[in-house]
C-alpha cells in the first residue's frame, strides 16, 4: 500500500487509523479536506485529527467506510450497529457527512 494512497485518521485519544484514501473519502467532510484547494495541513500530511471522536467510534466509522465500498460494488450485507454506540455514532456521522 503506497503512502499517498492512504490517509491517517486520529481519534480524540490519539489512536491512529491508517485507511485507504478511497475509503476515507466516503465521508464528504474528509473528501473536502483532502481535495479542497489551498495547502490544508490535512492534505499535505495525509493526516486528519478528530478531537471530538473517540477511538471506538472512529473505528466503527472506518468499518463503515469499507462496508460502503463493498455495498457499492454489489455486496449488500447488513452493517451491524451496537445500540450503545448509536447516539455517539450519529453525531460523528453527522459531522463527517457520512
Amino acid at each position: 500500500m503506497k503512502k499517498e494512497d492512504t490517509v491517517k485518521l486520529i481519534s480524540a485519544e490519539g489512536f491512529e487509523f491508517v485507511v485507504d484514501k478511497e475509503a476515507a473519502m466516503v465521508s464528504q467532510t474528509i473528501h473536502n479536506m483532502l481535495t479542497s484547494p489551498g495547502s490544508f495541513a490535512e492534505r499535505q500530511h495525509g493526516e486528519v485529527t478528530f478531537p471530538e471522536i473517540s477511538t471506538t467510534i472512529l473505528e466503527k466509522i472506518c468499518q463503515y467506510f469499507y462496508w460502503h465500498l463493498q455495498f457499492a460494488s454489489g455486496k449488500e450485507t447488513e452493517f451491524p450497529i451496537e445500540p450503545e454506540l448509536t447516539l455517539e455514532l450519529m453525531m460523528a456521522a453527522n459531522y463527517l457527512h457520512t
Binding site: I61, Y64, H68, F71, A72, G74, F79, I81, P83, T86, L87, L89, M90, M91, A93, N94, L96, T98
Partner: protein
C-alpha cells in the same frame, strides 16, 4: 419528512446516519433520552418514528427537552393529553404542531401556552376541543397558520380568542357549524390572506360584513353556506381577493355586479349555485378570470355568449349545464384554455369543431356527452392534450382510431366506452399513458396484450371486463411502474396473484368480486409487495367524483358520505348520483 432506506434505489448505499436512525427505530425502547443530540438529528429520529408508526406515549418520553421544531402528529394513533407535557417541553423551539384527529382536550391545549414561537397549529378533527381550548391558544400571537376543521363545539364566543392572533395569514374553519356571528372577531386580523369557511352552513350574509375589512384577503371559500347576493355585496372592497369559492351558495347572477368590482379576482367557483341565463350578461365584466366553474347551473348557450370576451380563461367547468354545440363557438377564441369540462352536457360532435383551434388545451372531459366516434376526429389536432375523458357508451373502437395522433396523452378514461380487443391496437400509439381506464366489459386477455406495451402506466383500471383471466395479470406483470391496479369483477383467481410479484411500486390493488381470498392477498403483500397500502377484495368505491368532491371513499368515511348523499338528493334530485360507478358501488353497499 425524511424517509429512511425505503427510498433507496438498488445499489445506492445508505448513509451511516440513516442506518443509525433505522437502528434506533428498531430498538426505540432501549433509549431514555435524545436530549444530548443536536436538534436536527433528534428531529430526524422523531420523524422516522412517526413515519413508521412506532412512536408511542412511552417512547415519546425520550424526546423531552429536545428542542424539536416540528411535531407532525396528524392522524397519529393514540395521541391525547398525555402527550402534551413532552410536546410543550420543546418550549420556544416549537414552530409547527399538527394534532389533527387526536383525542387532545381543552386541558391538553393549556400546555401550549408557553410555546410562544409556534407559527403553525393544526387541530383539525379534534372532537374534544371547544371554546375553552381556543382561549389557551389566544396568546400565541406568532401564529400565521391555524386550522380547526370539523369542530362542532367552537362557537362565536370562543372565536373571540382569534382577535389576538394578529399575525394570522391563514385560517381554516371548514365544517365548523357553530361559528355564526363569530367572524366579527377577525376584523383586526389585517394580515389574513386565506380564509376557509367551506361547509359552514351556519354562515349567513350577516357574517360577510366583518370580512369587508380584511384588506389582505386573497382567498375566501364560503361554499355551501347560506350567503346570498346581499352577502357577496360586502366583499366589494377586497382589492386583493383573487379566489372566491361560492359553490352551493344561494347566489344568482345578481352577485356578478359585486364581483365585477373585485379587480384581482381570477378564480371563481359558482358550481351548484342558482345561476341562470337571467342576468348572465354581467359575466362579460369579469375579464380577469382565469378559472371559472359554472358546473351544475341552469345556463344555456345564451350564457356562453357572454363568456366570449373572457379570453384570459385557462380553466372552464360547464359540467351538467344545458349547453350544446352552438354555444361552443364562443370558446373558439380562448387560446389560453388548458382545461375544459363538458361532462353531462348536450355537446355533440358538431360542437367539437369550435374547439379544434385550442392549441393549449391539455385536459378535456367529454364523458356523458353526445359526442360520437366520428366527432372525435376534430380533436386530432390538439397536440397539447394530455387528459381525455371519453366515458360514454356510444364511443367505440372507431372513435379511438381517430385519436392516434394524440401521442402526448397521459390520462385516458374510456370507462364506459365500448372498446374491444381490436380497439386496443390503437392504444399502442399512446406511449406516454400514465392512467388508463377501460371498463366497458368487452375486453379479453387478447386485448390486454396491447396494453402490456404501455410501460409508462401508473394507474390501470380494467374492472367490469368479466372475461379477463389470470392471463391478464401475467401479461401486465412487466408494467413495473403501476401504483394502482383494479381488475375487479373478472375471473382472476388466487393462482394469478403470483404474477404481481414484480410490481414493487403497487400501493393499491382492487380485486372485488374475484375468486381471491383475503389470505392470499395478505401473503402477497407481506412477502413481495411491502408498499401495498390498500388491498380490496370487497366492493370499494374509489372514483373521482365531480371536482374531486369525493376522491376516495373508504368504508371508514362511509357514514359521512351517507350524510352527503342525503343533502345531494334533496338539493339536486339525485340526478348526478346515478351517473357513474359511484352509484353502482353505493347500491352494492
Amino acid at each position: 419528512m425524511k424517509i429512511v432506506l425505503s427510498e433507496l434505489r438498488k445499489g445506492e448505499c445508505p448513509p451511516l446516519l440513516d442506518l443509525c436512525i433505522q437502528k434506533i427505530n428498531e430498538d426505540i425502547d432501549k433509549y431514555n433520552s435524545f436530549s444530548m443530540l443536536p436538534r436536527d438529528i433528534s428531529q430526524l429520529i422523531f420523524n422516522n418514528l412517526v413515519y413508521s408508526r412506532r412512536l408511542t406515549s412511552v417512547s415519546l418520553e425520550a424526546f423531552r427537552d429536545c428542542a424539536l421544531q416540528d411535531l407532525y402528529l396528524g392522524e397519529y394513533d393514540g395521541v391525547d393529553d398525555n402527550w402534551m407535557d413532552v410536546i410543550s417541553s420543546q418550549g420556544s423551539s416549537l414552530l409547527s404542531v399538527d394534532l389533527s384527529g387526536s383525542d387532545v382536550t381543552d386541558f391538553g391545549l393549556t400546555y401550549l401556552k408557553d410555546c410562544e414561537s409556534i407559527i403553525s397549529l393544526n387541530l383539525n378533527y379534534c372532537d374534544q376541543i371547544s371554546d375553552r381550548g381556543l382561549e389557551c391558544i389566544s396568546g400565541l400571537s406568532n401564529l400565521t397558520s391555524l386550522s380547526f376543521r370539523r369542530n362542532d363545539s367552537v362557537s362565536a364566543k370562543g372565536m373571540s380568542a382569534f382577535s389576538g392572533l394578529v399575525n394570522l395569514v391563514k385560517l381554516d374553519l371548514e365544517r365548523c357549524p357553530g361559528i355564526h356571528g363569530g367572524l366579527v372577531h377577525l376584523r383586526g386580523l389585517t394580515k389574513l390572506e386565506s380564509l376557509n369557511l367551506k361547509w359552514c352552513n351556519c354562515i349567513t350574509d350577516y357574517d360577510m360584513k366583518p370580512l369587508s375589512e380584511l384588506a389582505s384577503l386573497k382567498s375566501l371559500e364560503i361554499s355551501s353556506s347560506k350567503v346570498t347576493d346581499f352577502g357577496v355585496s360586502f366583499l366589494r372592497g377586497l382589492q386583493k381577493l383573487a379566489l372566491l369559492n361560492l359553490e352551493g351558495c344561494l347566489v344568482t347572477a345578481a352577485c356578478l355586479d359585486s364581483l365585477a368590482e373585485l379587480p384581482a379576482l381570477s378564480n371563481l367557483n359558482l358550481n351548484r349555485c342558482n345561476i341562470s341565463d337571467n342576468g348572465c350578461k354581467k359575466f362579460s365584466r369579469l375579464e380577469n378570470l382565469k378559472v371559472l366553474n359554472l358546473g351544475f347551473n341552469v345556463i344555456t348557450d345564451t350564457c356562453l355568449i357572454h363568456l366570449k370576451g373572457l379570453t384570459k380563461l385557462e380553466s372552464l367547468n360547464l359540467d351538467s349545464c344545458k349547453i350544446g354545440d352552438e354555444g361552443l363557438v364562443n370558446l373558439a377564441g380562448h387560446k389560453r384554455l388548458n382545461c375544459l369540462e363538458l361532462s353531462d352536457t348536450e355537446v355533440g360532435s358538431n360542437g367539437l369543431q369550435h374547439l379544434s383551434g385550442l392549441s393549449n388545451l391539455q385536459k378535456i372531459n367529454l364523458s356523458f356527452t353526445m359526442v360520437s366516434d366520428g366527432g372525435l376526429s376534430k380533436l386530432c389536432g390538439l397536440s397539447s392534450l394530455k387528459s381525455l375523458n371519453l366515458d360514454a357508451y356510444q364511443i367505440s373502437d372507431i372513435g379511438l382510431s381517430n385519436l392516434t395522433s394524440l401521442t402526448g396523452l397521459t390520462d385516458l378514461d374510456l370507462f364506459g366506452a365500448r372498446i374491444t380487443d381490436f380497439g386496443t391496437n390503437y392504444l399502442k400509439k399512446f406511449k406516454n399513458l400514465r392512467s388508463l381506464e377501460i371498463c366497458g366489459g368487452a375486453l379479453t386477455d387478447a386485448g390486454v396484450k396491447n396494453i402490456k406495451e404501455l410501460s409508462s402506466l401508473v394507474c390501470l383500471n380494467l374492472s367490469q371486463n368479466s372475461n379477463l383471466t389470470d392471463k391478464t395479470l401475467e401479461l401486465i406483470s412487466g408494467l413495473t411502474g403501476l401504483v394502482s391496479l383494479n381488475v375487479s369483477n373478472s375471473r382472476i383467481t388466487n393462482a394469478g396473484l403470483q404474477h404481481l410479484k414484480a410490481l414493487k411500486n403497487l400501493r393499491s390493488l382492487t380485486l372485488e368480486s374475484c375468486k381471491v381470498t383475503a389470505n392470499d392477498m395478505k401473503k402477497l403483500k407481506s412477502i413481495y409487495l411491502p408498499n401495498l397500502r390498500r388491498m380490496e377484495k370487497r366492493p370499494q368505491i374509489v372514483h373521482s367524483y365531480n371536482n374531486g368532491f369525493v376522491e376516495a371513499v373508504t368504508p371508514r368515511v362511509l357514514p359521512s358520505l351517507l350524510l352527503l348523499f342525503g343533502c345531494f338528493v334533496n338539493v339536486h334530485n339525485g340526478k348526478e348520483l346515478c351517473k357513474d360507478v359511484f352509484a353502482t358501488a353505493y347500491s352494492r353497499w
